[in-house]
Protein backbone atom coordinates (compact mmCIF):
# COMPACT_ATOMS: atom_id res chain seq x y z
CA UNK A 1 0.00 0.00 0.00
CA UNK A 2 1.06 3.48 -0.71
CA UNK A 3 2.85 4.61 2.45
CA UNK A 4 1.32 8.02 2.02
CA UNK A 5 -2.07 6.54 2.30
CA UNK A 6 -2.21 6.48 6.05
CA UNK A 7 -1.39 10.14 6.17
CA UNK A 8 -4.05 11.07 3.78
CA UNK A 9 -7.50 11.66 4.95
CA UNK A 10 -10.13 9.87 2.98
CA UNK A 11 -13.48 11.45 3.16
CA UNK A 12 -14.76 8.50 5.10
CA UNK A 13 -11.58 8.23 7.08
CA UNK A 14 -9.29 5.30 6.86
CA UNK A 15 -10.55 2.71 9.18
CA UNK A 16 -7.97 0.87 11.15
CA UNK A 17 -10.38 -1.43 12.76
CA UNK A 18 -7.79 -3.13 14.90
CA UNK A 19 -7.23 0.16 16.60
CA UNK A 20 -10.77 1.40 16.47
CA UNK A 21 -11.72 -0.44 19.62
CA UNK A 22 -9.73 1.94 21.63
CA UNK A 23 -10.38 5.04 19.60
CA UNK A 24 -12.79 6.78 21.88
CA UNK A 25 -11.27 5.32 24.99
CA UNK A 26 -7.94 6.70 23.90
CA UNK A 27 -9.56 10.00 23.15
CA UNK A 28 -10.93 10.26 26.65
CA UNK A 29 -7.66 9.38 28.29
CA UNK A 30 -5.74 11.68 25.96
CA UNK A 31 -8.04 14.56 26.69
CA UNK A 32 -8.00 13.78 30.37
CA UNK A 33 -11.73 13.47 30.42
CA UNK A 34 -13.66 10.79 32.16
CA UNK A 35 -15.26 8.25 30.00
CA UNK A 36 -19.00 8.92 29.93
CA UNK A 37 -21.22 6.53 31.78
CA UNK A 38 -23.22 4.05 29.80
CA UNK A 39 -20.18 2.31 28.41
CA UNK A 40 -20.79 -1.42 28.13
CA UNK A 41 -18.89 -4.07 29.98
CA UNK A 42 -17.84 -7.03 27.89
CA UNK A 43 -18.66 -9.81 30.32
CA UNK A 44 -22.38 -10.31 30.22
CA UNK A 45 -24.95 -12.81 31.36
CA UNK A 46 -27.54 -13.67 28.80
CA UNK A 47 -30.50 -15.95 29.08
CA UNK A 48 -30.51 -18.36 26.18
CA UNK A 49 -32.99 -21.21 25.99
CA UNK A 50 -33.72 -20.89 29.68
CA UNK A 51 -30.10 -21.07 30.72
CA UNK A 52 -28.16 -18.10 31.96
CA UNK A 53 -24.82 -18.06 30.19
CA UNK A 54 -21.78 -15.97 31.00
CA UNK A 55 -20.20 -14.78 27.79
CA UNK A 56 -17.48 -12.42 26.78
CA UNK A 57 -19.25 -10.30 24.21
CA UNK A 58 -17.59 -7.62 22.17
CA UNK A 59 -19.49 -4.35 22.12
CA UNK A 60 -20.33 -4.64 18.44
CA UNK A 61 -21.12 -8.31 18.45
CA UNK A 62 -24.34 -9.38 16.83
CA UNK A 63 -26.56 -11.85 18.61
CA UNK A 64 -26.07 -14.31 15.77
CA UNK A 65 -22.31 -14.18 16.28
CA UNK A 66 -22.64 -14.81 19.98
CA UNK A 67 -25.05 -17.67 19.49
CA UNK A 68 -23.16 -19.34 16.70
CA UNK A 69 -19.55 -18.72 17.55
CA UNK A 70 -19.50 -18.24 21.31
CA UNK A 71 -22.27 -20.59 22.40
CA UNK A 72 -22.06 -23.10 19.57
CA UNK A 73 -25.76 -22.76 18.78
CA UNK A 74 -25.31 -23.19 15.05
CA UNK A 75 -28.98 -23.84 14.41
CA UNK A 76 -29.26 -20.10 13.96
CA UNK A 77 -28.11 -19.63 10.36
CA UNK A 78 -26.53 -16.73 8.55
CA UNK A 79 -28.05 -16.47 5.11
CA UNK A 80 -27.27 -12.87 4.33
CA UNK A 81 -26.08 -11.29 7.59
CA UNK A 82 -28.01 -8.21 6.53
CA UNK A 83 -31.53 -8.74 7.82
CA UNK A 84 -32.72 -9.61 4.33
CA UNK A 85 -33.46 -13.31 4.64
CA UNK A 86 -34.62 -14.38 8.10
CA UNK A 87 -32.51 -17.52 8.45
CA UNK A 88 -31.14 -16.15 11.72
CA UNK A 89 -34.55 -15.56 13.30
CA UNK A 90 -34.64 -16.19 17.04
CA UNK A 91 -37.17 -15.21 19.68
CA UNK A 92 -36.44 -12.42 22.11
CA UNK A 93 -39.14 -12.38 24.75
CA UNK A 94 -41.26 -14.38 22.29
CA UNK A 95 -40.75 -11.79 19.55
CA UNK A 96 -39.17 -12.97 16.28
CA UNK A 97 -35.92 -11.09 15.78
CA UNK A 98 -33.12 -11.22 13.22
CA UNK A 99 -30.14 -12.30 15.29
CA UNK A 100 -27.75 -11.05 12.59
CA UNK A 101 -29.04 -7.52 12.93
CA UNK A 102 -29.21 -6.90 16.65
CA UNK A 103 -26.50 -6.58 19.25
CA UNK A 104 -26.12 -9.15 21.98
CA UNK A 105 -25.59 -6.36 24.46
CA UNK A 106 -29.08 -5.07 23.77
CA UNK A 107 -30.62 -8.21 25.21
CA UNK A 108 -28.87 -8.69 28.52
CA UNK A 109 -32.13 -8.67 30.39
CA UNK A 110 -34.19 -10.59 27.90
CA UNK A 111 -35.22 -14.13 27.19
CA UNK A 112 -33.57 -15.43 24.05
CA UNK A 113 -34.74 -18.64 22.42
CA UNK A 114 -33.15 -20.42 19.53
CA UNK A 115 -34.24 -23.44 17.58
CA UNK A 116 -32.14 -25.61 19.87
CA UNK A 117 -34.30 -24.67 22.82
CA UNK A 118 -37.66 -25.79 21.51
CA UNK A 119 -37.66 -29.48 22.20
CA UNK A 120 -39.14 -30.56 25.50
CA UNK A 121 -36.95 -31.97 28.23
CA UNK A 122 -37.79 -35.52 27.19
CA UNK A 123 -36.72 -34.83 23.65
CA UNK A 124 -40.13 -34.42 22.07
CA UNK A 125 -40.21 -32.05 19.18
CA UNK A 126 -42.07 -28.79 19.57
CA UNK A 127 -45.45 -28.97 17.82
CA UNK A 128 -44.12 -26.64 15.12
CA UNK A 129 -41.14 -28.88 14.57
CA UNK A 130 -43.34 -31.95 14.60
CA UNK A 131 -45.74 -30.42 12.13
CA UNK A 132 -42.89 -29.31 9.86
CA UNK A 133 -41.61 -32.88 9.84
CA UNK A 134 -45.03 -34.28 9.10
CA UNK A 135 -45.70 -31.82 6.31
CA UNK A 136 -42.16 -32.16 4.98
CA UNK A 137 -42.02 -28.40 5.16
CA UNK A 138 -38.26 -27.93 4.85
CA UNK A 139 -36.44 -28.47 1.61
CA UNK A 140 -32.76 -27.62 1.89
CA UNK A 141 -33.37 -26.76 5.51
CA UNK A 142 -31.14 -23.73 5.74
CA UNK A 143 -34.00 -21.31 6.34
CA UNK A 144 -35.90 -23.83 8.46
CA UNK A 145 -34.70 -22.79 11.93
CA UNK A 146 -35.76 -19.26 11.11
CA UNK A 147 -39.11 -20.39 9.77
CA UNK A 148 -39.63 -22.52 12.88
CA UNK A 149 -38.89 -19.62 15.20
CA UNK A 150 -41.15 -17.24 13.31
CA UNK A 151 -43.91 -19.83 13.46
CA UNK A 152 -43.40 -20.45 17.17
CA UNK A 153 -43.54 -16.71 17.74
CA UNK A 154 -46.78 -16.49 15.81
CA UNK A 155 -48.48 -19.40 17.57
CA UNK A 156 -47.59 -18.08 21.00
CA UNK A 157 -49.34 -14.88 20.14
CA UNK A 158 -52.09 -16.33 18.02
CA UNK A 159 -52.59 -20.05 18.57
CA UNK A 160 -55.19 -20.36 15.84
CA UNK A 161 -54.07 -18.23 12.93
CA UNK A 162 -55.63 -18.24 9.51
CA UNK A 163 -53.39 -19.28 6.66
CA UNK A 164 -53.19 -15.65 5.60
CA UNK A 165 -52.18 -14.53 9.09
CA UNK A 166 -49.54 -17.24 9.11
CA UNK A 167 -48.29 -16.07 5.75
CA UNK A 168 -47.91 -12.52 7.00
CA UNK A 169 -46.26 -13.64 10.23
CA UNK A 170 -43.69 -15.71 8.36
CA UNK A 171 -43.19 -13.16 5.61
CA UNK A 172 -39.89 -12.04 7.10
CA UNK A 173 -38.32 -15.37 6.20
CA UNK A 174 -37.13 -16.13 2.72
CA UNK A 175 -37.06 -19.68 1.44
CA UNK A 176 -35.07 -19.86 -1.75
CA UNK A 177 -36.27 -23.42 -2.34
CA UNK A 178 -39.73 -21.88 -2.43
CA UNK A 179 -41.21 -24.12 0.22
CA UNK A 180 -43.57 -21.39 1.43
CA UNK A 181 -46.64 -23.45 0.70
CA UNK A 182 -45.29 -26.39 2.66
CA UNK A 183 -44.27 -24.21 5.59
CA UNK A 184 -47.76 -22.76 5.73
CA UNK A 185 -49.17 -26.27 5.68
CA UNK A 186 -46.83 -26.94 8.58
CA UNK A 187 -47.96 -23.90 10.56
CA UNK A 188 -51.60 -24.82 10.09
CA UNK A 189 -50.91 -28.35 11.22
CA UNK A 190 -48.92 -27.08 14.20
CA UNK A 191 -51.88 -24.94 15.21
CA UNK A 192 -53.99 -28.11 15.15
CA UNK A 193 -51.41 -30.00 17.21
CA UNK A 194 -51.36 -27.21 19.77
CA UNK A 195 -55.10 -26.63 19.71
Amino acid sequence: MNPKLTRRRFIKGVIASGAAATTTAAWYSATGQERPSGFVERLVRINVNGQVRNVDVEPQETLASTLRYKLGLTGTKLGCNRGECGACTVLVNDVPTYACSVLTHSFKNDRIETVEGLESANGDLHPVQQAFVEELAPQCGYCTPGQVMAAVGLLRENPAPTRDEARHALSGNICRCGSYDSYLDGVMRAAELIG
Partner: protein
Protein backbone atom coordinates in the same frame (compact mmCIF):
# COMPACT_ATOMS: atom_id res chain seq x y z
CA UNK B 1 -7.66 -0.67 -2.19
CA UNK B 2 -10.95 -1.77 -0.77
CA UNK B 3 -11.59 -4.85 -2.77
CA UNK B 4 -13.51 -7.15 -0.61
CA UNK B 5 -16.97 -7.86 0.55
CA UNK B 6 -16.96 -7.05 4.23
CA UNK B 7 -19.28 -8.91 6.48
CA UNK B 8 -18.39 -8.65 10.14
CA UNK B 9 -18.92 -5.86 12.58
CA UNK B 10 -15.68 -3.95 13.01
CA UNK B 11 -14.53 -2.91 16.44
CA UNK B 12 -16.62 -0.08 17.70
CA UNK B 13 -17.61 1.04 21.13
CA UNK B 14 -21.12 0.76 22.45
CA UNK B 15 -22.76 3.04 24.94
CA UNK B 16 -26.07 2.09 26.46
CA UNK B 17 -27.23 5.16 28.34
CA UNK B 18 -30.18 4.47 30.59
CA UNK B 19 -31.40 8.02 30.87
CA UNK B 20 -31.89 11.02 28.64
CA UNK B 21 -29.22 13.22 30.13
CA UNK B 22 -26.49 10.65 29.64
CA UNK B 23 -27.58 10.04 26.09
CA UNK B 24 -27.60 13.73 25.24
CA UNK B 25 -24.26 14.20 26.92
CA UNK B 26 -22.81 11.32 24.92
CA UNK B 27 -24.28 12.66 21.72
CA UNK B 28 -22.76 16.05 22.41
CA UNK B 29 -19.39 14.68 23.38
CA UNK B 30 -19.05 12.14 20.61
CA UNK B 31 -20.50 14.30 17.88
CA UNK B 32 -20.09 12.70 14.49
CA UNK B 33 -18.06 9.90 16.01
CA UNK B 34 -21.12 8.70 17.90
CA UNK B 35 -23.68 6.80 15.87
CA UNK B 36 -27.19 7.03 17.30
CA UNK B 37 -28.59 3.56 17.45
CA UNK B 38 -32.30 2.86 17.37
CA UNK B 39 -33.28 -0.59 16.20
CA UNK B 40 -30.10 -0.70 14.19
CA UNK B 41 -31.72 -1.88 10.99
CA UNK B 42 -30.04 0.88 9.03
CA UNK B 43 -26.85 0.66 11.03
CA UNK B 44 -25.21 -2.71 10.94
CA UNK B 45 -25.07 -2.93 7.16
CA UNK B 46 -23.17 0.33 7.01
CA UNK B 47 -20.82 -0.78 9.73
CA UNK B 48 -20.28 -4.30 8.42
CA UNK B 49 -19.50 -2.88 5.01
CA UNK B 50 -17.18 -0.42 6.71
CA UNK B 51 -18.75 2.26 4.62
CA UNK B 52 -19.55 4.36 7.69
CA UNK B 53 -16.97 4.36 10.38
CA UNK B 54 -18.09 6.04 13.58
CA UNK B 55 -16.07 5.03 16.59
CA UNK B 56 -19.00 4.47 18.92
CA UNK B 57 -22.67 3.57 18.95
CA UNK B 58 -25.02 5.22 21.37
CA UNK B 59 -27.95 2.92 21.88
CA UNK B 60 -31.11 4.87 22.53
CA UNK B 61 -33.50 1.99 22.99
CA UNK B 62 -32.77 1.54 26.70
CA UNK B 63 -34.20 4.94 27.49
CA UNK B 64 -37.77 4.43 28.59
CA UNK B 65 -38.62 8.12 28.35
CA UNK B 66 -38.22 7.93 24.58
CA UNK B 67 -40.41 4.89 24.21
CA UNK B 68 -44.13 4.38 24.05
CA UNK B 69 -47.26 6.10 22.89
CA UNK B 70 -49.02 8.54 25.16
CA UNK B 71 -52.11 10.65 24.80
CA UNK B 72 -51.54 14.36 25.19
CA UNK B 73 -53.83 17.33 25.47
CA UNK B 74 -53.55 17.87 21.74
CA UNK B 75 -53.15 14.45 20.25
CA UNK B 76 -50.55 11.82 20.90
CA UNK B 77 -46.83 11.65 21.44
CA UNK B 78 -44.80 8.72 20.21
CA UNK B 79 -41.36 8.14 21.63
CA UNK B 80 -38.76 7.97 18.89
CA UNK B 81 -37.54 4.52 19.87
CA UNK B 82 -40.99 2.98 19.93
CA UNK B 83 -40.97 -0.01 17.61
CA UNK B 84 -42.93 0.01 14.39
CA UNK B 85 -44.75 -3.13 15.51
CA UNK B 86 -45.95 -1.37 18.62
CA UNK B 87 -47.13 1.61 16.60
CA UNK B 88 -48.90 -0.56 14.06
CA UNK B 89 -50.74 -2.43 16.80
CA UNK B 90 -51.44 0.44 19.18
CA UNK B 91 -55.21 0.94 19.56
CA UNK B 92 -54.88 4.69 19.89
CA UNK B 93 -52.86 4.98 16.71
CA UNK B 94 -55.08 2.53 14.93
CA UNK B 95 -58.27 4.30 15.85
CA UNK B 96 -57.23 7.91 15.37
CA UNK B 97 -54.28 7.83 13.04
CA UNK B 98 -54.90 4.72 11.01
CA UNK B 99 -52.70 6.23 8.32
CA UNK B 100 -49.61 5.83 10.48
CA UNK B 101 -50.64 2.41 11.74
CA UNK B 102 -51.00 1.22 8.16
CA UNK B 103 -47.65 2.66 7.10
CA UNK B 104 -45.87 1.21 10.11
CA UNK B 105 -47.38 -2.20 9.43
CA UNK B 106 -45.90 -2.58 5.97
CA UNK B 107 -42.36 -1.41 6.54
CA UNK B 108 -39.78 -4.01 5.49
CA UNK B 109 -40.54 -7.29 7.25
CA UNK B 110 -42.10 -8.36 10.57
CA UNK B 111 -38.77 -8.94 12.26
CA UNK B 112 -37.48 -5.55 11.16
CA UNK B 113 -40.64 -3.90 12.45
CA UNK B 114 -40.18 -5.75 15.74
CA UNK B 115 -36.95 -3.95 16.49
CA UNK B 116 -37.04 -1.06 14.04
CA UNK B 117 -38.07 2.21 15.61
CA UNK B 118 -40.13 5.11 14.38
CA UNK B 119 -37.14 7.39 14.76
CA UNK B 120 -35.00 5.01 12.77
CA UNK B 121 -37.57 4.71 10.05
CA UNK B 122 -37.72 8.48 9.76
CA UNK B 123 -34.00 9.13 9.89
CA UNK B 124 -32.85 6.14 7.83
CA UNK B 125 -30.53 6.93 5.01
CA UNK B 126 -31.51 6.76 1.38
CA UNK B 127 -31.37 3.45 -0.45
CA UNK B 128 -29.62 4.63 -3.62
CA UNK B 129 -27.63 1.52 -4.40
CA UNK B 130 -24.57 3.37 -5.58
CA UNK B 131 -24.41 5.21 -2.28
CA UNK B 132 -25.13 2.04 -0.35
CA UNK B 133 -22.32 0.31 -2.14
CA UNK B 134 -20.02 2.69 -0.36
CA UNK B 135 -19.08 4.71 -3.41
CA UNK B 136 -17.77 8.18 -2.73
CA UNK B 137 -20.64 9.98 -4.38
CA UNK B 138 -21.93 13.44 -3.53
CA UNK B 139 -23.96 12.10 -0.63
CA UNK B 140 -20.88 10.46 0.79
CA UNK B 141 -18.98 13.72 0.51
CA UNK B 142 -17.64 13.12 -2.98
CA UNK B 143 -17.96 15.07 -6.16
CA UNK B 144 -20.02 12.88 -8.46
CA UNK B 145 -23.38 11.20 -8.83
CA UNK B 146 -23.26 7.78 -10.42
CA UNK B 147 -27.01 7.38 -10.62
CA UNK B 148 -27.83 10.52 -12.55
CA UNK B 149 -26.21 9.86 -15.86
CA UNK B 150 -27.40 8.58 -19.21
CA UNK B 151 -26.70 4.97 -18.28
CA UNK B 152 -27.05 5.12 -14.51
CA UNK B 153 -29.41 2.58 -12.97
CA UNK B 154 -31.84 5.05 -11.50
CA UNK B 155 -35.20 3.32 -11.59
CA UNK B 156 -35.76 3.95 -7.89
CA UNK B 157 -34.57 7.55 -7.96
CA UNK B 158 -36.08 11.01 -7.79
CA UNK B 159 -38.60 12.80 -9.95
CA UNK B 160 -38.37 16.04 -8.03
CA UNK B 161 -35.97 18.19 -6.10
CA UNK B 162 -32.80 16.58 -7.36
CA UNK B 163 -29.71 18.66 -6.92
CA UNK B 164 -26.61 16.74 -7.99
CA UNK B 165 -27.88 13.83 -5.85
CA UNK B 166 -31.01 12.07 -7.12
CA UNK B 167 -31.68 9.82 -4.14
CA UNK B 168 -35.14 9.56 -2.62
CA UNK B 169 -36.65 9.35 0.83
CA UNK B 170 -37.08 5.67 1.65
CA UNK B 171 -39.40 5.97 4.61
CA UNK B 172 -42.97 4.72 4.69
CA UNK B 173 -43.87 6.54 7.88
CA UNK B 174 -42.39 9.93 6.97
CA UNK B 175 -45.12 10.84 4.45
CA UNK B 176 -47.81 9.95 6.97
CA UNK B 177 -46.30 12.21 9.60
CA UNK B 178 -46.06 15.08 7.16
CA UNK B 179 -49.69 14.47 6.23
CA UNK B 180 -50.69 14.44 9.89
CA UNK B 181 -48.93 17.77 10.56
CA UNK B 182 -46.75 16.07 13.11
CA UNK B 183 -43.98 17.80 15.01
CA UNK B 184 -40.56 16.33 15.65
CA UNK B 185 -39.18 16.83 19.12
CA UNK B 186 -35.44 17.18 18.98
CA UNK B 187 -33.26 17.32 22.04
CA UNK B 188 -29.65 18.13 22.58
CA UNK B 189 -27.48 18.87 25.55
CA UNK B 190 -28.34 22.52 24.92
CA UNK B 191 -32.09 22.05 25.10
CA UNK B 192 -35.02 21.03 23.01
CA UNK B 193 -36.52 22.24 19.78
CA UNK B 194 -39.60 21.29 17.84
CA UNK B 195 -39.60 21.01 14.11
CA UNK B 196 -42.63 20.56 11.88
CA UNK B 197 -42.39 17.18 10.14
CA UNK B 198 -42.29 18.86 6.78
CA UNK B 199 -39.23 20.88 7.72
CA UNK B 200 -37.50 17.97 9.39
CA UNK B 201 -36.36 16.47 6.12
CA UNK B 202 -33.85 18.18 3.91
CA UNK B 203 -33.09 17.85 0.24
CA UNK B 204 -29.69 17.74 -1.42
CA UNK B 205 -30.02 21.33 -2.57
CA UNK B 206 -29.68 22.44 1.02
CA UNK B 207 -27.73 19.57 2.55
CA UNK B 208 -26.38 16.88 0.32
CA UNK B 209 -24.87 14.87 3.15
CA UNK B 210 -27.89 14.49 5.37
CA UNK B 211 -31.51 13.51 5.06
CA UNK B 212 -32.73 15.51 8.04
CA UNK B 213 -31.97 18.84 9.66
CA UNK B 214 -30.66 17.18 12.81
CA UNK B 215 -27.40 18.75 13.88
CA UNK B 216 -24.49 17.04 15.50
CA UNK B 217 -25.41 16.16 19.06
CA UNK B 218 -29.13 16.32 18.45
CA UNK B 219 -31.44 13.38 19.01
CA UNK B 220 -34.96 12.92 17.75
CA UNK B 221 -36.76 11.96 20.93
CA UNK B 222 -40.43 12.01 20.07
CA UNK B 223 -43.01 12.71 17.44
CA UNK B 224 -46.10 14.66 18.36
CA UNK B 225 -49.20 14.23 16.30
CA UNK B 226 -51.81 16.88 16.89
CA UNK B 227 -55.53 16.26 16.91
CA UNK B 228 -55.85 18.24 13.69
CA UNK B 229 -56.20 15.15 11.55
CA UNK B 230 -57.35 12.63 14.12
CA UNK B 231 -60.06 10.38 12.75
CA UNK B 232 -59.86 12.00 9.34
CA UNK B 233 -60.41 9.93 6.22
CA UNK B 234 -57.09 8.37 5.40
CA UNK B 235 -55.48 6.72 2.46
CA UNK B 236 -52.13 5.00 2.47
CA UNK B 237 -50.64 2.87 -0.23
CA UNK B 238 -47.16 1.60 -0.92
CA UNK B 239 -46.19 0.21 -4.28
CA UNK B 240 -42.97 -1.77 -4.26
CA UNK B 241 -41.58 -4.56 -6.39
CA UNK B 242 -41.89 -7.04 -3.58
CA UNK B 243 -44.53 -7.08 -0.89
CA UNK B 244 -42.00 -7.70 1.86
CA UNK B 245 -38.53 -6.26 2.40
CA UNK B 246 -38.81 -3.63 -0.17
CA UNK B 247 -38.78 0.08 -0.37
CA UNK B 248 -41.55 1.96 -2.05
CA UNK B 249 -41.29 2.77 -5.72
CA UNK B 250 -43.84 5.38 -4.72
CA UNK B 251 -45.94 5.58 -1.60
CA UNK B 252 -48.73 7.94 -0.72
CA UNK B 253 -50.18 9.15 2.54
CA UNK B 254 -53.30 11.24 2.42
CA UNK B 255 -55.77 12.65 4.92
CA UNK B 256 -59.09 14.23 4.10
CA UNK B 257 -61.62 16.14 6.11
CA UNK B 258 -64.91 16.03 4.33
CA UNK B 259 -68.26 17.47 4.87
CA UNK B 260 -71.25 16.28 2.92
CA UNK B 261 -68.96 14.41 0.54
CA UNK B 262 -66.90 17.51 -0.18
CA UNK B 263 -63.30 17.89 0.78
CA UNK B 264 -62.83 20.63 3.34
CA UNK B 265 -59.17 20.15 3.74
CA UNK B 266 -56.62 17.60 2.67
CA UNK B 267 -53.03 16.55 3.02
CA UNK B 268 -51.46 14.51 0.27
CA UNK B 269 -47.87 13.42 0.58
CA UNK B 270 -45.82 11.11 -1.60
CA UNK B 271 -42.67 9.29 -0.66
CA UNK B 272 -39.86 7.93 -2.82
CA UNK B 273 -40.25 10.63 -5.46
CA UNK B 274 -37.96 13.18 -3.88
CA UNK B 275 -35.29 13.25 -1.24
CA UNK B 276 -37.93 14.46 1.20
CA UNK B 277 -41.57 13.45 1.53
CA UNK B 278 -43.29 15.50 -1.16
CA UNK B 279 -46.37 17.32 -0.06
CA UNK B 280 -48.69 18.14 -2.94
CA UNK B 281 -49.97 21.48 -1.79
CA UNK B 282 -51.25 22.48 -5.23
CA UNK B 283 -53.37 19.38 -5.36
CA UNK B 284 -54.56 19.94 -1.82
CA UNK B 285 -55.74 23.44 -2.72
CA UNK B 286 -57.26 22.35 -5.97
CA UNK B 287 -59.44 19.70 -4.42
CA UNK B 288 -60.63 21.78 -1.51
CA UNK B 289 -64.36 22.17 -1.83
CA UNK B 290 -64.55 19.41 -4.43
CA UNK B 291 -66.27 16.09 -3.99
CA UNK B 292 -64.03 13.21 -2.92
CA UNK B 293 -64.62 11.40 -6.16
CA UNK B 294 -63.01 9.79 -9.12
CA UNK B 295 -63.61 12.89 -11.21
CA UNK B 296 -61.83 15.11 -8.71
CA UNK B 297 -58.94 12.71 -8.59
CA UNK B 298 -58.67 12.59 -12.35
CA UNK B 299 -58.81 16.36 -12.60
CA UNK B 300 -55.70 16.86 -10.49
CA UNK B 301 -53.66 13.85 -11.55
CA UNK B 302 -51.42 15.78 -13.89
CA UNK B 303 -51.03 18.58 -11.43
CA UNK B 304 -49.66 16.02 -8.99
CA UNK B 305 -46.61 15.44 -11.11
CA UNK B 306 -46.17 18.90 -12.54
CA UNK B 307 -42.50 19.75 -12.59
CA UNK B 308 -41.41 16.15 -12.47
CA UNK B 309 -38.06 15.58 -14.05
CA UNK B 310 -37.77 11.86 -14.67
CA UNK B 311 -34.39 10.25 -15.13
CA UNK B 312 -33.70 7.51 -17.64
CA UNK B 313 -35.40 4.65 -15.90
CA UNK B 314 -37.97 6.13 -13.57
CA UNK B 315 -40.52 7.43 -16.03
CA UNK B 316 -43.02 4.96 -14.65
CA UNK B 317 -43.08 6.86 -11.40
CA UNK B 318 -44.98 9.65 -13.11
CA UNK B 319 -48.10 7.62 -13.98
CA UNK B 320 -47.71 5.67 -10.75
CA UNK B 321 -47.71 8.80 -8.68
CA UNK B 322 -50.64 10.20 -10.62
CA UNK B 323 -52.56 6.97 -10.14
CA UNK B 324 -51.87 6.90 -6.44
CA UNK B 325 -53.08 10.47 -6.08
CA UNK B 326 -56.23 9.54 -7.99
CA UNK B 327 -56.76 6.52 -5.78
CA UNK B 328 -56.21 8.52 -2.62
CA UNK B 329 -58.69 11.15 -3.65
CA UNK B 330 -61.41 8.84 -4.84
CA UNK B 331 -60.93 6.76 -1.67
Amino acid sequence: MVATSHDVMPDIELYQPADEATALDLAARLGNEGWLLGGGQDTYGWLKDRNKTPSAMIELTQIDAWKGITETADGIEIGAVTTLTEIARNPLVQSRYGLLAKAASIVASPQIRNVGTLGGNLIQDTRCWYYRRGLDCYRAGGNICYADSPEGLNREHALFGASRCVAVSPSDTAPTLVALDATMVVASAGGQREIPAQDFFVGPDRDILNMTVLNEGEILTAVRIPNTWANAEFYFEKVADRNVWDFALVNIAAAFKTSGGNIEDARIVCGAVECVPRRLEDVESAIRGQARSEATGNSVAEMATAGARPLNYNNFKVPLMQNLVKRAIRG
